[in-house]
Symmetry: C2
Subunit: 209 residues, 2 copies
């Protein structure tokens, strides 16, 4: 039995091809034929690893959600020790949230894919479970940051972590949305400034203004 290829690796390659086509031409062009061409494979080959086109989409989105989720977990782990200064803690929180913004090429591409898939999931029920998982896990990160801030004592008095979660989460996704849809009007600097402004508001720093 020729096990030259790792089936799961092949599927990942196909998923990556789906992402490239989606970024370049939109999700509606991610047909079996276009994806196969993008991956440098024959249509029949691609079909060997998937049940059908819908299966490809589901796999691609699940792969995406897993990947993003894993990356977010990483950045939650490495935070400063309990003895660190308040400003240092705030900086770590800012870094964790910045992970959700398209500040570099990689995360910009990721954001483009995220947008295409989550929006498509509104009218494609087979994708909705994954869109919901992505929503929940991202919200969870934001919530974790805010509760950690609360626990660390850097959250301003009268500011409640639970209440703030949706506001901060919406802000971050709104910034990501604007940056991806209007790259000429909102660059990385603008993103950083808006996020920093928001954090300055709810987590006042000593050194800051």
């Amino acid at each position: 039995m020729p096990k030259k290829v790792d089936p799961e690796a092949r599927r990942h390659e196909v998923a990556e091809a789906v992402f490239r086509v989606t970024r370049r031409d939109g999700l509606e062009h991610a047909s079996l034929r276009n994806v196969a061409a993008e991956a440098g494979l024959a249509v029949g080959s691609v079909r060997h690893y998937f049940e059908g086109q819908t299966d490809i989409m589901i796999f691609a989105m699940r792969h995406f959600v897993d990947r993003v989720g894993a990356r977010l977990l990483e950045h939650v782990r490495d935070r400063p020790g309990p003895g660190a200064s308040a400003d240092r803690h705030v900086a770590a929180f800012e870094a964790a949230l910045a992970e959700l913004l398209p500040l570099d090429a990689e995360r910009r591409e990721e954001t483009e894919v995220w947008l295409a898939f989550t929006v498509s999931a509104r009218t494609r029920e087979e994708l909705r479970p994954y869109a919901e998982r992505l929503y929940d896990q991202t919200r969870e990160l934001v919530h974790k940051v805010l509760t950690a801030a609360e626990r660390t004592g850097v959250l301003r008095d009268g500011v409640d972590a639970d209440t703030e979660t949706e506001r901060l989460y919406a802000l971050v996704d709104g910034l990501a949305l604007h940056s991806v849809l209007q790259p000429g009007r909102l660059d990385a600097e603008g993103l950083r400034a808006a996020l920093r402004r928001h954090l300055d508001e709810i987590m006042p720093r000593a050194a800051g203004r």
Copy 2:
């Protein structure tokens, strides 16, 4: 010459059909055939009023942008007189911004269409000019609200209208995005709460907490 029908009115009807199909099945299903069926017309009839399918999309999006723009202008007009109390001014600002949120069925439908079209415009250059106009005119509204707040003196000290524009705009669009994509997790009350919380922060009220 039988001028039974007003051609522009017919085009508007077709555009409305495009919106309904888009909301229900997604923009990718807004084909000539589907749209004609949705409008209760024959394909040939629809084609009589448009150059082609692309023309339909362009017209629909332009129509949408114009309509939203007109509605926003209305709500900018009716603000309290210069003698009104500060809290009354803030309430008017909040009402203007609430116009951008999917708080009722009509604006929810509008938001769904907005999302489908603006996202699609990222990879469809013929739609991009209208997406940019929509972005600009909405941003303009947010900016107007903030400068008016600054002029009225209700903006907190140290808060700059220009700097705040992108943050508030992103927050509003982020809320709209979340509410439309995850209707089960963010309802109208949540939207209102987040917006109010933000305004409380940058435009502190006397009566409020």
